[in-house]
């Protein structure tokens, strides 16, 4: 036996694998409307309970938060912060997706390089990257570029690992066919590898999306003067509880909406490629 075909799954891959296992399972049964309604009500009740238990010192109750949010969404200040976060996040996400895709394709095709790189990447995935944020700040300076770099640090690795895994598990016949047809490396990637790996690439994009958002938000929470992360921390520092609760609500809703959308998209591409 040659190579590492029988090797244990990789550190980073287990997270990736369970995300996959879940998306496969959820297709089993539709969640019943009644159960979903009960779930939402239960969550609102818990939220309300925490809010009233602490007398609104830490968390403001749902209704109050909603009313506050409604006002907040009409202020210019909120949109300025949201735009700052959105710009940093979009750049970070696009960068990590493109670089991750390219690296993943290269590492997937070049087996040896891939085997060398994979544990390094997976190791990087599991370390607490927050501790490295000061270095990012020292290198990039306070501001937009530091946030973007930190977002890329979070989002790049899962994208690379997903693409790498997908390319490696492709039937070799596809790559051989591409060779027989004398496709250039660029065309092989564009016409053979990317379409064949599309479901995994969409999954990678999903994870990379949420992690680069995490990176950007942590960057804003730690040291920044703009963005939703900053707004959240400043809301807490000023004891403006509805503000911080409102910002958390907005972020959670956006994150879940984006994730659900991409899960759907992933399922559809997986359907089509079968």
């Amino acid at each position: 036996m040659g190579g590492t075909a029988g090797a244990p799954p990789f550190v980073g891959m287990s997270e990736l694998a369970f995300a996959d296992a879940l998306s496969r399972r959820t297709s089993r049964g539709r969640i019943r409307a009644f159960d979903a309604a009960v779930l939402v009500l239960l969550m609102l009740a818990i939220w309300q309970a925490i809010g009233s238990w602490t007398n609104g010192v830490a968390v403001s109750p749902p209704l109050q938060t909603l009313v506050y949010l409604f006002d907040l969404l009409r202020t210019w200040m909120f949109w300025e912060h949201a735009a700052a976060t959105l710009a940093a996040f979009l750049l970070a996400f696009v960068l990590s997706a493109l670089i991750g895709l390219a690296l993943g394709l290269i590492f997937g095709v070049q087996r040896f390089t891939g085997e060398v790189a994979e544990p390094i990447l997976a190791g990087f995935y599991t370390i607490p990257k927050v501790t490295l944020y000061p270095v990012v700040l020292l290198v990039f300076g306070l501001g937009m570029s530091a946030k973007i770099a930190f977002g890329v640090m979070h989002g790049l690795v899962p994208m690379t690992l997903f693409t790498l895994g997908a390319v490696r598990n492709l039937p070799p016949v596809l790559i051989r066919t591409a060779k027989v047809l004398r496709l250039s490396p660029g065309r092989t990637m564009l016409w053979v590898l990317v379409p064949a790996c599309l479901p995994d690439i969409v999954n990678g994009l999903r994870i990379s999306f949420s992690l680069s958002m995490l990176g950007v938000l942590i960057g804003e929470m730690f040291s920044s003067q703009r963005g939703l992360g900053f707004l959240l921390v400043s809301g807490m520092a000023q004891h403006n509880v509805p503000l911080s609760t409102g910002v958390v609500t907005v972020i959670v809703l956006i994150a879940i909406a984006a994730n659900t959308l991409m899960l759907r998209l992933g399922k559809r591409t997986a359907h089509r490629s079968n």
């Binding site: 190791g123 990257k129 501790t131 020292l138």
Partner: protein
């Protein structure tokens, strides 16, 4: 086997080369010492700071918090996973929740947790559990899914009691998946606790790093950073090797 060794060799060479390049760039003045200090100095600073004993309290604090969060996450996660597995209706509700759980950046709850529980160990433990427990739940579910029905039928044929079925059949069959959940739980708990300390806290290693950054003490900052990263890499590495052994023993026996 030789190929595997070659891969390992090249990997070590690449890493060593990166460190050496950084060292040379720093020493030659290409990289400003105010930005990054040479790796040699980082190691010296780490030995200095950790060896001096001034950090003992922070180290004990941080690692006891991580350990507590890890144990709680494993306990709660396995229990919740097993419960959800029993009821398919609960499962239908829980699956989409778990599928989008990790898309929500858990850290944004931290300021709320601090306001709720005060500055101290409690919000950090909760943050660690919040980031680690769902991973354990997910892996418990997939581990229990992976127990083949034949094994359960076998248990019934042998008239094993539920406790014995669990111990002799279900647990060994689900162990590899469970273990990868535990491994993830460790790294998530570590990330959660240290990130919490880093952003907003008065104690622990994460705080020490952010304090060193804010007082422009680069040497201390890099030394501490190296220490935290080394501990994280070693802890994850041990579980990684262990997991590999488990998987190999399973496939050979």
């Amino acid at each position: 086997m030789t190929r595997r060794r070659a891969v390992l060799f090249v990997r070590i060479a690449v890493l060593a080369g990166l460190v050496a390049t950084l060292e040379i760039c720093c020493r030659a003045g290409i990289i400003d010492p105010l930005t990054v200090i040479p790796p040699g100095d980082m190691v010296a600073s780490m030995i200095n700071h950790v060896g001096s004993g001034e950090l003992d309290e922070s180290i004990v604090n941080t690692f006891s918090t991580i350990a507590l969060a890890f144990v709680l996450a494993i306990g709660c996660g396995t229990l919740a996973g097993a419960l959800i597995h029993r009821s398919s209706r609960l499962r239908d509700v829980a699956d989409p929740l778990l599928a989008s759980y990790y898309s929500v950046p858990t850290f944004i709850f931290y300021p709320l947790l601090v306001a709720l529980l005060g500055l101290g160990k409690a919000p950090l433990v909760v943050l660690g559990v919040l980031s680690a427990a769902p991973a354990v739940m997910i892996s418990t579910l997939s581990g229990l899914d992976g127990v083949s029905p034949v094994l359960l039928k076998l248990a019934r044929v042998h008239r094993l009691s539920p406790a014995r079925t669990l111990w002799w059949i279900v647990l060994p069959a689900a162990l590899p998946r469970l273990f990868s959940g535990f491994k993830l739980a460790l790294s998530y708990a570590l990330i959660g606790v240290i990130a919490g300390e880093f952003i907003l806290s008065g104690t622990g290693l994460g705080y020490a790093i952010s304090f060193a950054y804010q007082s422009f003490d680069n040497r201390a900052m890099y030394g501490l950073m190296l220490f935290v990263l080394l501990v994280a890499v070693i802890a994850n590495g041990i579980l990684y090797v262990w997991e590999g052994r488990l998987a190999r023993r399973r496939s050979s026996g």
